[in-house]
Assembly symmetry: C2
Homo-oligomer: 254 residues x 2
Amino acid sequence: MADSARLPREEQRAASVVSIRDLQTRCSRCDIRELCLPVGLDDAALRQLDHVVRTRRRVKRGEVLYRIGDSFAELFAVRVGTFKITILASDGREQITGYQMSGDLVGLDGISTGRHQCNAIALEDSEACVMPFDGLAEVARTVAPLQLSLHRFLSREIGRDQQLMLALGRLSAEERLAAFLVNLAERHHARGFASREFVLRMTRAEIGNYLGLTLETVSRLFSRLQREGLLQADGRLIRNLDLEGLRKRAGRTC
Amino acid sequence: MADSARLPREEQRAASVVSIRDLQTRCSRCDIRELCLPVGLDDAALRQLDHVVRTRRRVKRGEVLYRIGDSFAELFAVRVGTFKITILASDGREQITGYQMSGDLVGLDGISTGRHQCNAIALEDSEACVMPFDGLAEVARTVAPLQLSLHRFLSREIGRDQQLMLALGRLSAEERLAAFLVNLAERHHARGFASREFVLRMTRAEIGNYLGLTLETVSRLFSRLQREGLLQADGRLIRNLDLEGLRKRAGRTC
DNA sequence: CGGAGGTTTGAAAAGAGTCAAAGGTCGTGG
DNA sequence: CCACGACCTTTGACTCTTTTCAAACCTCCG
C-alpha cells in the first residue's frame, strides 16, 4: 500500500480502450454533472466541455494522483471514490488539508505556481476526470457560465479551508470531531447517500491528522460520543448519527 | 473604534473628487501593479483593466471593508495598509484567517455564494481598490493574461490557507510564531521594506487568534525569542530579526 | 492627565499528547 | 481455506504544553 508507483499498468489499460473511455468521459452524460464543474451548463456549453475533458484516471487505494512538485497541467474532478489532500512541513510532518469526494475538484492549488503543492492520495479505489487546465481556461473565455463555475469552485475551496482553520484554531477536540462528522454527513446527503449512516474511508490517524489531534484522542472521542448516544461506531462503520446533537457540540461550524 | 458605521462620510468625499480619484485609480499607473492583479499585463490589457477598476475605498483603522453576509459584488485590492480577515463560529468565537497587505486581493471567498463569508477589518488606516467582479470576469474573457492572473490569485489564496492549516494542525506554539514572523518578514521584503525590522500592525491577541494561541502564550514566546537572541521586541516594534534562526524553529513552513 | 486598551509575568489547572499494551480486522500467500 | 502478519483500534496511566486566572505595569489617545 502507501506510496507505490504511479499506475503504469492502469495507464496502459486506459490507452488500450480509448474509444470506450472517451465515451464514458463526456461531461454531458455524466451522472454527477450537477455536483461537479459542469453544474448549470446548457447543452451547447456541455458539448464544449466534452472536447476538453476526454480522459479519466483510475487510482487504486493508497496510490497517488499527483505529488508535491509534479508539474501542474490539469485539474482533476473526482468521479468515484475519495482522495486525501496532504501538505508537508520541511521536517516531513504531514497535514491532511482535505478529503475530496465525487464532484469535488482537486489540484486547484497548483495553478498559482505551475507545480502541485500538495499530494492527492486515494483512500479507496477511485476515479478522476482529467481536465487539462489550458483547455478549460480557453473554453471558460467563451462560455461565461463555465467561467463562473470555475471561479465558484476556486472560491468554495477557500471557504472550506477557512472553516477548517476555524476548527483547528478555535474548537476543542470534541467540537472538531463533531463538526467533521456533521460535515461528512452533509456531503454524503448532497450526493444522495444516507447521512445518518456511512462507512468512513479514513483511519483514526487520518481523522486525527486532519483535525490536528492524535489518533488516540480521536478514538477516545468516538467512544465518548457513543457512550453519550450520539452515534454508534463499529470501527469505520458509523450508524445512527444524531446530527442535531452533534451540531450542538460542533460550535455549529458545519 | 471596532465595528463602527460604514464610512458614509468617506464615500461622499470620494464622490466629490471623482476625477482626481479616478486618475489615481488607474492600474496602469499604480506603483504596486507588479504586486497586484495586473502583474505581467501589457499596456493594452492594463487599459482594459483601467475601465473596470475606477474607485477606491478608504477604511480607517478598526473599520470594516465588508462584513459576513454582505452581498458580494466586488473584489478589493489592498493598496495601502493592512486588513485582518475573520470568520465566526456560531457561538461568536472568531478566527482570523489572514492578514492582507498591499497587492493582496480580498473578498475572494465571496464569489462562491454571492455573499461575503468573512469580515475584512482595517488594522491601520488603509485604502483598497474596488474591482467590480462582473466587469473583471468580463475582461478576463478577452484578456487571457488577466484571466491567468485571477486564477493564480485564487489559487495562491488556497495555498496560503493550507500553510496556515499546517501551522495550526502540526506546529508547536513556538514554531507557529516563528513561522508567522518569517512570513511577515518575507512579505515586507517582497514589498521593498526592511525584512529584519518592522512594526506589527496587530496586537498580541490578534497574533494569538491567528495562530490558535492565547495572547499570554504569544507574549511569553516573544519574551523567550528575545531572551534567546532571535529578535528584539519593544511592544509592536520588532528589530534585529534573526531570520535564519527563526526559520530553523519554524519547521520551515514559511 | 485620566482611562481604556494592550502587554508582561506568575501560579495553578486542564486538555490533549505520549507511551504502552492488548485485542481486532483484513488481505494475502501458502 | 486457514493462518499469519501488517495495520488499525481501544484503553489506561502518566506527562507536558498551553490555557486560565490574576495582578501589575505600560502607553497612547483624546
